[in-house]
Amino acid sequence: MSASTALLPEYIVVVAVLVTMIAAMIRRPGGTVASWVALIGILGALWATIDLWTMHIHPAVFFNQSLTVDNYSLFVNVLVLIAASSTLLLGWTGEREHEEFPILVLIAALGMMSLGMVGNLIALFLGIEVLSLPLYVLSASHRTVLGGEAGLKYLLLGAFSSGILLFGLALVYGATGTMNFVDFASSVNVHSPLLAAGLMLTLVGLLFKLGIVPFHMWVPDVYEGSPMPVTNFMAFGTKVGAAVILLRLLAYGFYMSPQDWGPALGYLALLTMIVGNLLALPQNDLKRLFGYSGIGHAGFLLIGVAVHSVVGAKAMLFYLLPYGLAVIGAFAILTMMGTDKETVTISDLAGMARQKPWAAALFIVFMFSFAGIPLTGGFVGKLYLLQAALFAHQPGLAIGLVLGTFLGLGAYLRPLQAMFRTRQGESNMAGWNVNWSHVVVLVVAVVGTVGLGVYPTPVVHWVSQSANFFWLH
């Protein structure tokens, strides 16, 4: 299979970036041509991905093993493209989204897609940077005080973590003498402490992007200050990118020495699940709440990596989908509520159940999926993670998962309770703004969330196909 066939989704996105730039240049002020072009590009890449999937390809490596196309990378493509299209659709009507908005979203999506398929250290670093750089810009794109703070904080801390990551990669290269993940395991130095130190620094850089405690400090501030669609993108897309590269790096390069990294990741997962959900409890700002809940969910995802088994890989890959669908649904409702406002607080939700019953019902579905209530996708995802933890004889992780879920339930029930409160005085649903693009996102999100909860079989099948790479060492 040639590179142009296997990498067609990425090529389409690259072409879409260029065409969107031209479209943004020649468009009328206020027009949506650039967004349309970007959306068509994303849908084209999605089509190409699904087409590749149906061809039942064998894993293929390109460009000196720097990119691997297999079912895993294709599944990641689908997740990232869902995140990118939802971001575009949520930012469709925002007058303050600039014409550069779709281009930057596409570039960040390209970085996330490449993270699903990287096979060597250079590609890893470049993927992380291609993902991060547009997001630094996007998070500050509203030029408000909070937005500036978010952008600067994200840039500085992100640059710092990139430095640590680069140092780690250099040490790994120094210890093994090779850049390719698959060659690490066969290197003579597989148990060298220098390699362990390099791996530790590399993991710190990647866990920062994932938002794992204790590298989580930036998450709530950046989520709070960023524009709503961008927060949605960071909560879904960045988590997908960071989680899948973590799994790929460890499962390809370090499967011979899981005792070096497995326990550390396990303890961090435990800490993150508890701390993230605990800190989500007292939040009044919904974006901050989703920020902390995103930290908690990153902890759940990390279980799948830490247990180092094919069951764990499957569970993590599956969990990304219901989590992401709930994220885009919840952010669609927040965007509809406050297109002009920077953020939505819990007290803004008061009276929503009476005035906007449909939106309130959908919001409840998404919150239930976050919390892991049965008949939503989140429940099935948590079930698989629990199974993975128990199969790996890690009862501590299982207990942490349950505890974190309970704490999270409390955090997610607070906004729901506020929705049923009657509001004194003037209604705040005046700024309610519904566009077809929001409706599309909402429909996809709710169908996906409930569908995954009721009939997850097909997705489970796809996930086990894409986690197959585990056996191909």
């Binding site: 040490l171 003579v188 130095n189 220098l194």
Partner: protein, 195 residues
């Protein structure tokens, strides 16, 4: 080996100077020292092109830009530092980083990586070799960096838009504020007449 150690010590002490210097100009000059010692390190590793590029691009172009910005922005300003929220955090951070760095150095000395036994490929480190790599097997990295630079250029546009667009945005915001305000006022008026 001795040369590498000397250059490494030079580079590290220069970068410590970058962080600790009070005056931005001093920081910039320390950075020049750091860049030059790195360039010499590249030379010792037989990467001549990288060394030349390091000197020309970083020390030549980027540092000049830095110095311009520094002189424009901070000329004649004596800035006092703000008091810190956590007193003593710098000292603690310094001690910790020295310990971590010491551990890494000890690890690297005690457990060195595999030594390269193969001879260097032809044209290693010179312009031809770099060009063949970048436009051959490593072309994909060049593309990735190109896309990254596109997003950086766009970032400048987003964060620092031309004045014309800024005006347009301000007008649009005012219009929206007016259209928002009008229904509310009419409703208030109606309430007023009703009571």
């Amino acid at each position: 080996m001795v040369g590498i150690v000397i250059l490494a010590i030079l580079a590290i002490s220069a970068s410590v100077g970058v962080v600790t210097a009070r005056q931005p100009v001093h920081s910039a000059l320390y950075l020049v020292g750091n860049i030059l010692s790195l360039a010499l390190l590249y030379l010792m590793l037989k990467a001549e092109f990288l060394a030349a590029a390091q000197v020309i691009v970083y020390a030549g172009a980027i540092m000049v830009l830095f110095l311009f910005v520094v002189t424009l922005l901070t000329a004649g300003k004596e800035e006092r530092e703000l008091p810190e929220d956590l007193p003593g955090q710098r000292i603690v951070a310094g001690i910790l980083s020295v310990i971590v760095g010491g551990v890494f150095v000890a690890l690297a000395i005690k457990y060195p990586g595999p030594t390269l036994k193969a001879p260097l490929p032809s044209h290693f480190g010179d312009l031809t070799g770099i060009g063949r790599l970048l436009w051959g097997p490593d072309f994909i990295y060049l593309v990735a960096i190109a896309i990254m630079l596109v997003s950086a250029a766009l970032g400048v546009l987003v964060l620092n838009p031309p004045r014309k667009r800024r005006q347009q945005e301000a007008e649009a915001r005012e219009q929206r504020a007016e259209s928002k305000a009008s229904p509310e006022t009419t409703r208030k008026e109606r309430e007023g007449t009703g009571s």
